[in-house]
Amino acid sequence: MKFQFAKSILNSLALGVLLGLAQTAFAEVAAPGNYRIDPAHTTVLFTVNHLGTSELTGRFNVVEGNFVIGPNQAPGVDVSIKTASVDTNHDKRDAHLRSPDFLNSKQYPVMRFVSDKVSYDKQGQPVSLHGKLSLHGETKPVSLALSSVGAGKDPWGGYRAGFNATTTLKRSDFGMNFMPGGIGNEITVTLNIEAIKE
């Protein structure tokens, strides 16, 4: 019994040390270079008002892309999201969002953000992205506020960096005008991105 208890404490300590080390490793500034988005650890969320009474959050489950970071690097961000992967935890609502009423996923299967301008702070961390979003057959300029979460080596010998990016879009700007009274025009989009350095 005592042996089990001691083993449990040792395990907890070891886990704490590992987590501490990992946190230290991932607190650094992301190294300049080319990165590929890791879809398994990237989340694309959106929030929209419903009937003026509540906020509904959904996600897109299929995302891919790559980007270049570093103040002295030629900037480049290219992120594609499959519109049919919309998921609001309600099958009927998802079918409705995929339909011609909103995303029209059959005709516009991909939304794509391409940026060629990145702003950096004094520490060399990217703080905002400026580019063009193609969605629902329309291409409009969009800026995303960017915050760095961490960067460092992963347990498999690779190098990862994480960012959170947020922006607010008007769906009417992208030709999605259906049900203006029921569903809000402004949509907050958040991307929690983890990327692997190539």
Binding site: R93, H96, D101, Q107, F178, G182
Partner: protein
């Protein structure tokens, strides 16, 4: 205004109001009635879609062109064979509507369904005169109503609303048919020929873009075809059974919880 009230005004009250006024107070000449009814639907369509893109970008953007082209053909070729130009117009519209889907994902099944829709359309346009003997407005409003419910349940409230507007426009004439105990109809062959292509195009859009299941789509295509083929004053009953069957299948296979 409540968004649900807006949906009802756009899809039901406006087209019924305009179409009803035309029927009871407007000119008796059929040509004006056809134009008025087309205008009633176009007003609702413009309001529902927030005005379509010109040139058309999405499937529903083609519908006003289809309606105008169908009307123009019927107006120009009043006493001649109209089924061929109408079939070509329907084929062209459906090809334009389905093209983006085939572009990203070529599919023999989708192309096959397109061909079946065009063949059915051709058959219906040839038999349009026959339809007038079987309460066409009542039959068409049943079909459009059934497809509206199926589209709304299947995924697209927008397509459902456009069909509701079609059911409302034809529904006014259906009331006149019912009032005469289905012995007479103020809904002419010309009206049938203008609105049938619209119904078929909306069926195609619901099938391709709004995830309307094949079985329901097949019943909703068979509904006007059989309804017109059968020479029986109450063949609207066949349309009612088939349309109800299409909706019933959706309800049986799907999640019945309210969403909208």
């Amino acid at each position: 205004m409540s968004p649900y009230l807006t949906l009802i005004i756009q899809g039901i009250i406006l087209p019924i109001g305009v179409s009803g006024l035309l029927l009871w107070l407007g000119p008796t000449r059929d040509g004006y009635r056809v134009a008025g009814n087309a205008l009633a639907w176009l007003l609702a369509y413009g309001w529902i879609t927030g005005f379509p893109a010109i040139p058309p970008k999405e499937a529903v953007d083609w519908l006003w062109l289809l309606l105008v082209a169908s009307y123009a053909v019927c107006h120009i070729t009043q006493h001649h064979a109209r089924w061929l130009p109408l079939t070509l117009i329907l084929a062209g519209t459906l090809t334009a509507v389905v093209w983006p889907v085939l572009y990203y994902q070529p599919s023999a099944a989708v192309a096959g369904e397109l061909v079946i829709l065009v063949i059915a359309g051709s058959f219906l346009f040839r038999r349009a005169e026959q339809a007038v003997s079987v309460a066409p407005a009542f039959t068409l409003s049943i079909n459009a109503g059934g497809l509206a419910i199926a589209s709304a349940l299947g995924g697209s409230l927008l397509v459902g609303q456009l069909l509701t507007a079609l059911a409302a426009v034809t529904g006014v004439y259906a009331l006149a048919e019912i009032a005469s105990r289905l012995h007479r109809t103020p809904f002419s062959t010309q009206q049938v020929l203008v609105f049938l292509p619209l119904y078929l195009a909306l069926l195609g859009i619901a099938r391709v873009y709004a995830e309307l299941p094949l079985a329901s789509a097949a019943l909703l295509l068979a509904s006007p075809v059989i309804g017109i083929r059968v020479r029986w004053r109450h063949s609207w009953l066949i349309s009612l059974i088939l349309s109800a069957g299409a909706v019933g299948l959706l309800l049986l296979n799907g999640d019945n919880t309210a969403y909208y």
